[in-house]
């Protein structure tokens, strides 16, 4: 799928409006409760058939966002429209039915599979829950699925600990595919894998996307991976989206100073000495979000104005949004 095709389709699979997820921490007899603003007012769309990459450093809220979209963690406020239906309003049975359409693949291939269940039992249970195929065909359905993700059909009778990290991630992919979803959220799905295995899994994800007309939200801290797999890329910083644009335009001409710094920080084996924008200090704690633009404490361009006024995510050119007062 090329970016040109994505642009033509105006259908949005997912529309997210003002999504917020705050956590309360601390609190007690003499302490006031504090709020962690993990996800703070996100608004964006996911187009049918695209891969939307979300990048950001640890603590930027990208994983929380993924879980909030799936209602695994109830959002504090905001709306998530899936094919026009607000899923934040759903509960119980309706929600469980909808979960057939949206799946998630987690980072840690060791934590995301039940250690005491065979792969077959795990997948059959899901297939049975949603009555994907008649009872008689379940086993062969699951085995075909395992073969599709590059495992042997014998994997059906194996326990998770009998697989390597890459194979476990393939099992996770098979589990996500088992319910024939339309959207898969990949939360750092290849981050725990070695480079050579990572490439195998990335290729598999691409192949499956083409074959099953899937839509991906691909969350990762690794910009090269996101760049490779995505059609559009969103950059998050401290719970906010600071830039959102097509993959080629964001990599060629990043508009937000944070995005620029992020790109320049990646060690590049093809260049010897590249100019680097060194960021000062660390990401501030989400407990104590800076006033105004939340990037101003580390931004090389920051002015007094940035400390006071929070910039909105606005179009800098067609299909390229950025949240900065001084963007070119």
């Amino acid at each position: 799928m090329t970016t040109a095709q994505v642009k033509q389709s105006t259908d949005n699979l997912l529309e997210i409006k003002g999504l917020k997820k705050y956590f309360e921490v601390g609190g007690g007899l003499f302490k006031q409760k504090q709020q962690v603003k993990a996800v703070d007012d996100l608004t964006f769309n996911v187009k049918k058939g695209e891969t939307l990459g979300i990048v950001g450093e640890s603590g930027c809220g990208k994983s929380t966002m993924g879980r909030a979209l799936l209602q695994l963690q109830k959002p504090t406020s905001g709306e998530v429209f899936y094919e026009g239906q607000d899923i934040a309003q759903l509960s119980g049975k309706q929600l469980r039915k909808l979960r057939k359409d949206i799946q998630i693949i987690f980072q840690d291939p060791f934590a995301s599979l039940n250690p005491r269940m065979t792969v077959g039992a795990m997948l059959t249970e899901i297939v049975a829950t949603h009555e994907i195929v008649p009872k008689k065909e379940r086993q062969s359905y699951v085995q075909n699925l395992l073969e599709e993700v590059g495992l042997k059909a014998e994997a059906y009778w194996k326990y998770p600990h009998e697989f390597s990290g890459g194979q476990r991630q393939r099992v996770s992919i098979a589990r996500a595919l088992a319910v024939q979803p339309k959207l898969i959220i990949c939360d750092e799905a290849v981050s725990a894998l070695d480079v050579s295995v990572q490439a195998q899994v990335l290729n598999l994800l691409q192949k499956l996307k083409r074959k099953h007309q899937l839509t991906y939200i691909f969350i990762s801290h690794d910009l090269s991976v996101v760049k490779h797999i995505s059609d559009r890329v969103g950059v998050m910083y401290l719970g906010k989206m600071v830039e959102l644009a097509d993959e080629d335009s964001i990599y060629e001409k990043p508009a937000h100073p944070y995005t620029q710094a992020l790109f320049s920080a990646i060690p590049d084996i093809t260049e010897d000495n590249k100019e680097r924008i060194q960021l000062k200090g660390d990401v501030p704690s989400p407990l104590n979000v800076p006033s105004g633009c939340r990037f101003h404490t580390r931004c090389p361009l920051a002015t007094e104005y940035c400390k006071q006024v929070d910039p909105a995510l606005e179009e800098v050119k067609e299909d390229h949004l950025a949240a900065c007062h001084y963007t070119a």
């Binding site: 879980r67 979960r99 799946q103 998630i104 599979l113 085995q143 014998e154 326990y159 600990h161």
Partner: protein, 297 residues
């Protein structure tokens, strides 16, 4: 796992994962010498309890006034007590009572504790936080023996009531343990993945979380069996457990107390058996915990 006719791949016989898993677990258990020792002794005790009528050389309640307070001899291996009853036979019959007390009271604690812990831990909320947890706190703050004593006194003397009392006293430990395990597992990604796949809460609790808490439950259970035997012994010692003339290790210990100077064997043998039983069951429990650890391949 059902088999259908039109299988693309037949289930390989040698590859039955449950059998393989069981085999490696058994191998692991057999490598642990202390656990094997504990297991063998525990098995011998159960064997003794079941076949007590055939193993005991004398009737445990038969009084022989011509042989009172006799030291261990060929006729009376462990000696006789103040009423001339054979201590060896009484110890063998006492194993029945002690093992019953251990197994049944822990069974009661499991039947109540496991579901309460599972539900309480999975759903959290007001009832969990303010009712169940505070109740367990209250129960745990009273020494087990005192609580068992109070309950047994309310229920009335006798072995059955003693077992119910002990079971209730042990329950909060299980509730706390299981709730803690559930809290740890419900945050795990495989549970989230299950939820994301639309699996019902009931299934997640029963099929995904419970099997992963079996190992600590097993360990706690073996420890609790040992504790229950001691509490039953103590209750019998205080006259609230097994009623005379039926033998139990605890009541024998109580009798022996008065004769520690003149006839120490009366207290020595039941005391030693309580000690050995508790140690063996603990060792066996430790072995089972290691055996069930999925991280040990």
């Amino acid at each position: 796992m059902e088999q259908s006719q039109n299988l693309s791949v037949q289930k390989p016989k040698a590859q039955n994962p449950r059998l393989r898993m069981l085999k490696t677990m058994l191998e692991r258990l057999l490598q642990n010498k202390l656990a094997v020792f504990g297991g063998v002794v525990t098995f011998l005790l159960i064997f003794t309890a079941i076949f007590a009528p055939w193993l005991a050389p004398h009737d445990p309640t038969e009084q022989n006034y011509s042989a009172v307070l006799q030291a261990p001899s060929i006729e009376y291996w462990f000696g006789t007590d103040n009423l001339g009853r054979d201590i060896f036979s009484r110890v063998i019959y006492g194993a029945q009572v002690s093992l019953q007390a251990g197994l049944i009271s822990v069974g009661i604690a499991l039947i109540i504790g496991v579901p309460v812990g599972l539900i309480s831990g999975y759903y959290r909320g007001f009832i969990d936080e303010y009712i169940i947890m505070r109740m367990t706190d209250a129960m745990l703050s009273i020494p087990a023996l005192v609580l068992a004593l109070a309950l047994a006194a309310v229920l009335g003397a006798g072995l059955t009531n003693a077992m119910i009392a002990i079971g209730l006293v042990l329950t909060p430990n299980f509730v706390r343990l299981i709730r803690g395990e559930v809290l740890a597992h419900r945050e795990k990604e495989y549970v989230e993945a299950g939820k994301a796949s639309g699996i019902s809460d009931f299934s997640i609790i029963l099929k995904h979380i419970l099997p992963n808490t079996i190992a600590p439950i097993m360990v706690q259970a073996t420890l609790a069996i040992a504790a229950a035997i001691i509490v039953e012994a103590s209750l019998s010692y205080l006259g609230l457990g097994t009623q005379p003339p039926n033998p139990s290790w605890g009541s024998m210990l109580a009798t022996g107390q008065g004769y520690l100077d003149s006839a120490p064997w009366i207290a020595l043998f039941p005391g030693a058996l309580i000690f050995i039983t508790v140690i063996s069951i603990n060792l066996f429990g430790d072995g089972i915990r290691d055996m069930l650890d999925p991280k040990m391949k």
